[in-house]
Amino acid sequence: MSAVQQRGSLTQIELAGVTGLSPATVSNIVKELTGAGVLHTSPSTRSGRRALQVTLARNLGLVAGVHFGSRSMRVALADASMRVLADQRMPLAPDHRADTGLQRAALLVAEMVASVDAAPDELLAVGVGVPAPVDVRAGSIATVGMMRGWDGVVVPEVLEAELGAPVTVDNDANLGALAETRFGAAVGHDAVAYLRVSHGVGGGLVLGGRVVHGRAGVAGEIGHVTIDENGPVCRCGNRGCLEMYVGAGVLLSMLSESRGHLTLRDVIARAQEGDPGCRRVLFDAGQHLGVAAANLCNLVDPEIVVVGGQLAEAGEALLGPLRTALEQRTVPSTAGPVQVVASELGSAAEVRGALAVALDLARVSGSLGVSA
């Protein structure tokens, strides 16, 4: 096993030479491990003779998923069967810039590919999620001013040059929605609404197994549903958006007067310890989310609403008031109220979605040798 791992790929005869075992023994071991799905064999020739090339099963190729959040980046590598081989998170500065961010992501992917003993050309595709609406066809950020320093950046152009693999980009909440539908809390459901409540607020809709993008990628942007016509002006330029009531910056500034500088995780931890102020902030956030989600449910009537993002770690402190507000505002149905659940994949949802779209891209572009 480790002989194959070290050398990446070698023939059965070479393997016998390296390990000092007899060719027959090696043949038996390889057969057994191939049966177990650990090794992969393919016919080839060596010095004009037929030989069996032995590789680790992951050598079907690797895909990388990159998730840029507002304050952190997460990169994961997976093989063709979506087995995650490496996963790394990195905190980022507020207002991180596209150039340094993408360069760091590219370096991180390259280092992680090296860390699983793979060659750079084994990387088949890369999926990227960013916290802003994305024009998926062009791969560019579709709005102005939502992510400072990222306006008009064509992510695939930059990353493809650095990594030499095709790159696909989507909104992070869309990727989270896809991941929850394929591998998480919403498996087996159709019409899935996903809310991502973290530093910003995003949403994704999956209808018939496909993510809804709309005209230019703004579909599902529940963070910018109007809560108050005369509310404070949001980063998007409109007034009283949901994000101005439940975004992390707003929640934390409500608490900073009495409790100093907190992080979102601090607020959740304190709420669980019973801090009434932190509980109240989460309660109100849940209600606001419920109001916005109710509008969405009245339009789409999804089978399930999945709540993800860091704030979802608060659990029922957030979901309870969300459910109540949602039920009060949706059309009562004989099917009962819509199911509202916390994300199953948690903070990994978006990066898993990025891996999934990368794998889809690898299949479409034919770089993946098998059709899975």
Partner: protein, 271 residues
């Protein structure tokens, strides 16, 4: 808002004719990452040295829980619950992780080393840091830069210090290792430590800092909240924006107002 654990009031330090620190006021609180940023020669490492007891200030005082203390050696600082990890991690390459963590402070059982207890505690410390060190019986020579940093931090954590000073922890590290160190700093903060993080890489600082103090030519050139824009920080670092008065807050034309600072004050800072 908790009272500061450690405060520097009017601290100055000269090296010959060089005024490395001039009348510096800094507060360090528990459960908070205080970042100190500045250009080369701004006095960052001198400040780390003063907090960690490596340098004795020429003027001003150091207050621990509001009471003046004299930190005349790193050992004295340690007994007061202040530990530091300097840029040169001071690890012994040929010793393994456990030996490095306990170097000079070995656990004894009778006349012998208590290897089992030390190994258990080393694992405990590394687990708290969510560290990815493969084995504690590996010589640290074989570890990556980020993992070595983790070992150095684990050693500093021995004896549960309240204040932890990290001097340039991400210098000369790859992206992946930098990511590990930044995650580690978040972890330390979550565990309630007061972390003083010193670096010239403003981007890395901003990723984890609650407050940022900008030093320039030995003086405090402004104190900012962690979410201040990079431009405002850069302006303060390079001297493009001057503090309103010596030692007072820098006021950028636009941008969020820096957090409160009372120039030359000796009392607690009010919020």
């Amino acid at each position: 808002m908790s009272a500061p654990v450690l405060s520097l009031r009017g601290v100055s330090k000269n090296f010959g004719g060089v005024r490395a620190l001039v009348d510096v006021d800094v507060d360090v609180r528990e459960h908070e990452v205080l970042a100190v940023v500045g250009d080369n020669g701004a006095g960052k490492s001198t400040l780390a040295g003063v907090i960690a007891g490596a340098f004795r200030p020429d003027g001003g005082e150091v207050l621990l829980d509001g009471a003046p203390v004299v930190l005349d050696s790193p050992a004295a600082a340690r007994t007061h619950g202040i530990a530091a990890v300097f840029q040169q991690l001071a690890l012994v390459d040929d010793l393994d992780v456990v030996e490095n963590v306990f170097l000079g402070q070995e656990t004894l059982r009778g006349p012998f080393l208590d290897e089992i207890a030390m190994e258990r505690e080393a694992w405990g410390l590394l687990d708290q840091l969510a560290a990815t060190v493969p084995s504690v019986r590996q010589p640290v020579r074989t570890l990556s830069g980020g993992q070595r940093q983790v070992v150095a931090v684990a050693r500093a954590l021995l004896g549960a210090p309240r204040v932890l000073v990290l001097d340039e922890p991400t210098a000369a590290l790859g992206v992946r290792q930098t990511a590990e160190v930044l995650n580690l700093i978040e972890k330390l903060r979550e565990r309630g430590h007061a972390v003083v993080l010193i670096s010239h890489q403003a981007g890395d600082l901003q990723a984890v800092a609650d407050r940022i103090v900008v030093l320039r030519l030995g003086r405090v050139h402004g104190e900012f909240s962690g979410d201040t824009s990079y431009e405002d920080l850069l302006a303060a670092m390079t001297g493009a924006v001057r503090p309103a008065r010596p030692g007072g807050p820098a006021r950028a034309a636009s941008g969020p107002e820096p957090r409160e600072r009372r120039a030359g004050g000796t009392g607690a800072v009010h919020r």
